[in-house]
């Protein structure tokens, strides 16, 4: 029996109708394409009236297939599937044709765009006739969640979920949670102490009955899919037995090996070979850095082991792999600072008194190596003048084209701290001052009144090549003051470089493990930049904080909470729908060659050794089609993407070249095979 197809062409206001003659496309399809029972155009198909049009036609005309030519299926496929469902038609018998993003928005010539829209609609009509009714599947959602990264975003997400009563695994690669926020002195614009507002959250996480904290641990492998992920975590050897350690700190105190702390202290202070990164570390269990420990270097010492009152030191401890099962994963892997050595003309690493912003945070932190005293590298001289350079590695096509967003405010904050703690003159070199959140502009205005000097211009170089006696022994900042329109030289004692915020070096690799992608810059890609900022294209994987893009503390906290809310919702619902668009293997024809087994990016094909055939694990299959095209016997078919559907679609697109009488003699299911 011939199908009865309903075709609906959307104007989308003028978005489509402005470039495509939608009335003509609808009329043409109704009059010229076989099996079309109804063909209409409508101002906004996605409106409730537009949906009702579809529903009524299905009931009234007994439509068996529906084609909606409108925007991207990303936006409204669900809408029209629901409309079909409401009218009693299986939702997978509806096909959406994108004549907006793929047509009206990208073409200038109205006649050509209309011609293309006809071809696209015709393709969908031919395809939809071969579509089959499918039933979605539902899987249970594991109530546990994995949060990767123990910075402020990850901590917030963890607490939200744990407080709601759900189990959370929090994995952090450093020995303590806290992230970069633990390193800062003050936070803008309120100037409250960073540690004072962070550490209560850290200890809450550390003590929470619903939180399993895995620090000094790395994500190793993720398999499974939304609702039931299987995750392998590598617990790196601390060389301290976690359960035996009381955190007394005697080992740290007695350790004879002092090394430069390039992590927490950003190279400004020292730590021991056995250490906790900072006094408020959570958990209070130290780790041995095997790179610098005397025992690991030359089998001598063991002072920590001898002095530990609970015998918690274990030099033979090995990395351990931990398997966990979770329903959802929140990535909160954070950022790392730009390597300011990449801009050699700013002198970092060559000129002693050039600092990175993170170094300066430690320098003016009361708990830092100088107890908060702002002094030059000689350890005693207070600077009389300080230059703060904005946009180091940000807004720079040679490094990162994006704006790091937070550095203007951080630079203002650091400038304020210099003014507050010293008598130094402060110069801030900026391109544009970006202070666009609540109370930020007010903070800027306040600082303008504090006597800081602002120079609008990109710094050309920081040099010690004096040209005048007054420049001798100083660092000279050369910059065009673009407000005055002149090259100026500013001799100062100290320079602070506001380095860009960059993605973690292994962000891409971590993303691949979870099946999520990165933007060109290396930030995780959200499902929708405006309307779905914490979900990703992979169901069950969410992102929060700076791993998704540069942001400040309030925004990171908001995203952490948002991701937790999304996960909460899924757990409360208990079940998650899985698209029935999956591959199926015809076991009769399967030779058991196993080529498809290794090709599947989701590990969704298993091999039955007894029956000597491969089978698709439906819950894991994403319907990507890799196995379908790889099978040498051609016995794997992809639901909703069968050969028959694809060939029909191609024939439909080429309606003006394709002669129906040729097709009549051709079985669409037969794929040409060369004779043996």
């Amino acid at each position: 029996m011939a199908e009865k197809v309903g075709v609906y062409v959307c104007h989308c206001g003028s978005n489509i109708a402005g470039k495509v003659d939608v009335e003509d496309v609808a009329k043409w399809a109704g009059e010229n394409v076989k099996d079309v029972a109804v063909s209409r155009d409508y101002k906004f198909m996605c409106s409730s009236l537009g949906q009702k049009l579809v529903e009524d036609d299905i009931k009234e005309h007994g439509l068996t297939r529906v084609v909606v030519a409108a925007c991207s299926p990303h936006l409204h496929e669900k809408t029209f599937r629901r409309a079909c469902s409401n009218a009693g038609l299986n939702p997978y018998l509806m096909e959406m044709t994108n004549i907006r993003e793929h047509c009206s928005w990208v073409h200038k010539d109205r006649a050509a765009a209309t011609e293309k829209a006809r071809a696209l609609v015709s393709a969908s009509i031919e395809r939809v006739k071969f579509q089959e009714p499918l039933e979605p599947m539902f899987v249970d959602v594991n109530r546990a969640t994995l949060v990767i990264g123990g910075g402020i975003a990850g901590l917030q997400a963890t607490l939200e979920l744990a407080d709601a009563g759900y189990p959370v695994y929090l994995v952090e690669r450093q020995p303590s949670i806290g992230g970069h926020m633990a390193q800062f002195d003050k936070t803008f614009p309120t100037l409250d102490c960073s540690a004072c507002i962070l550490t209560p959250k850290m200890s809450e996480v550390g003590q929470h009955e619903n939180v399993t904290l895995l620090t000094y641990a790395e994500l190793e492998e993720v398999s499974g899919s939304v609702g039931s992920f299987k995750v392998k975590i590598r617990q790196k050897a601390r060389h301290v037995v976690f359960d035996d350690c009381t955190g007394c700190g005697i080992c740290v105190e007695k350790c004879p090996r002092k090394v430069l702390d390039t992590e927490f202290e950003a190279g400004m202070g020292n730590r021991k070979a056995i250490y906790m990164p900072f006094p408020q570390a959570v958990p209070r269990v130290p780790v041995i850095d095997t790179e610098s420990c005397i025992w690991f270097e030359r089998q001598k010492c063991r002072a920590c082991e001898k002095l530990c009152p609970t015998n918690a030191i274990d030099f033979d401890q090995q990395d351990e792999l931990i398997d966990i099962e979770v329903g959802n994963i929140i990535m909160a892997t954070g950022w790392e600072p730009f390597d300011t050595r990449k801009i050699p003309q700013y002198g970092y690493g060559r000129l002693a008194n050039v600092y990175t912003s993170l170094e300066f945070e430690r320098l003016c932190n009361a708990a830092g190596p100088t107890n908060g005293k702002i002094v030059l590298r000689d350890g005693k001289t207070e600077p009389k003048s300080v230059a703060i350079v904005h946009c180091v590695g940000s807004r720079d096509e040679r490094h990162n084209p994006y704006c790091s967003g937070v550095c203007c405010m951080a630079a203002l904050k650091l400038g304020h701290l210099v003014v507050e703690k010293t008598d130094a003159e402060v110069y801030s070199f900026y391109i544009d001052m970006r202070t666009n959140q609540k109370n930020y502009e007010e903070f800027y205005q306040r600082l303008l009144g504090e006597g800081m000097r602002f120079v609008r211009g990109k710094v050309a170089e920081v040099t010690d090549a004096a040209r005048k006696p007054s420049e001798q022994g100083k660092l000279i900042v050369q910059c065009e003051d673009t407000l005055v329109g002149r090259q100026q030289r500013y001799p100062v004692d100290m320079v602070i470089l506001m380095g860009a915020i960059e993605p973690q070096r292994d962000a891409r690799e971590m993303g691949l493990k979870c099946g999520i992608s990165c933007s060109m810059d290396g930030w995780y890609t959200e499902r929708h930049p405006k309307l779905d900022p914490v979900a990703t294209m992979t169901d069950g994987i969410f992102v929060a904080g700076t791993c998704q893009g540069p942001k400040d503390i309030p925004a990171s906290v908001a995203q952490g909470a948002a991701a937790a809310a999304r996960v909460s919702g899924m757990i409360t619902k208990g079940k998650v729908m899985i698209e029935p668009i999956v591959a199926k293997i015809d076991e009769e024809g399967c030779s058991g060659c196993r080529i498809c087994n290794n090709m599947c990016p989701y590990n969704a094909i298993e091999y039955d050794a007894e029956a000597q055939v491969s089978r698709v694990i439906t819950a894991l299959c994403k319907g990507c089609g890799t196995c379908v095209s790889a099978c040498p016997a051609g016995v794997i078919s992809g639901a909703h993407f069968s050969d028959r559907q694809i060939f029909a679609q191609i024939q439909g697109a080429l309606w003006d070249a394709w002669q129906p009488q040729d097709a009549a003699s051709q079985d669409a299911e037969t794929v040409p095979v060369s004779a043996p």
Binding site: I343, P344, Q345, G347, R350, E461, T463, D464, A465, R467
Partner: protein
Amino acid sequence: MKYAYYPGCSLEAGSAAYDKSVRAVLDQLGVELDELNDWNCCGATEYFSQNELVATSVIARNLALVDSEHDQLVAPCAACFLNLKKTDKLLAEHPAMKCQVDAALAAGGLSYKPGRVHVRHLLDILYTDVGPEAIKAKVVQPLSGLRVAPYYGCQIVRPLNGFDNPEYPMKLDEMFEWLGAEVVDYPVKAHCCGGHMTQISEPEAFELIRRLLQSADEYKADVILCMCPMCQLNLDAYQGRVNGHFGTSFKLPIVFFTQLLGVALGIDMKKLGFGKELVSAEPVIRSKLDGSSVGAGT
């Protein structure tokens, strides 16, 4: 290794020491240089500011002269290198101009397809193609004890050239570390020497030259290494005038980097063109290095 060689006018006259030392050093390193037959002047900085089409045609003639046995052209002079490289790029990017240049070349029975010849600076060839292992293996007189200040000038580091960091180049620094010298990492190594400003406004030019001499002097350099004839001329020949103008007493020898590279390779100083510079370099080099063995090689 085999390259077409474009010496340029300066290397035939004021900077003969550069040409002499380039030939001696590359011969010692087993690099074959085949001088272009009948090459002409690159026009320096002046042609381009007068008439772009004429400038491009004149330079393109040199590119067209590179025979089919060579696909790489080496130019030691910074201005020649930049002009040749720029012309190749202009011809590739501006088809209309290329048509006119083609007609000019055709009148002389020549033709050139942009991109056929890869224009390279001498430093790039030594650093990249010859490389550290081959150079280190040939060092017979390490330069230990000699403090050298590499001076890049402003032309060869332009972004178009791509072989070193345009803001803070380091390749010449690295090469002299291979040779055992104490390399002075002074901040003005890519600042301008003033070029032809000496002919236009002496006070401006002298100030630019003074900045370079002063910085190298503050960093206690024994000698400044140049890779551009203009830079060498300005720093060396005007050093006395600069001293007179500012009341300073700089006495810094300015040599081409290939001259000192030749010393490290054990080549006789006479074959390297020493003695042509106004502030004599030989005494300081001999006194800092073990005088007796300098130049005792081939």
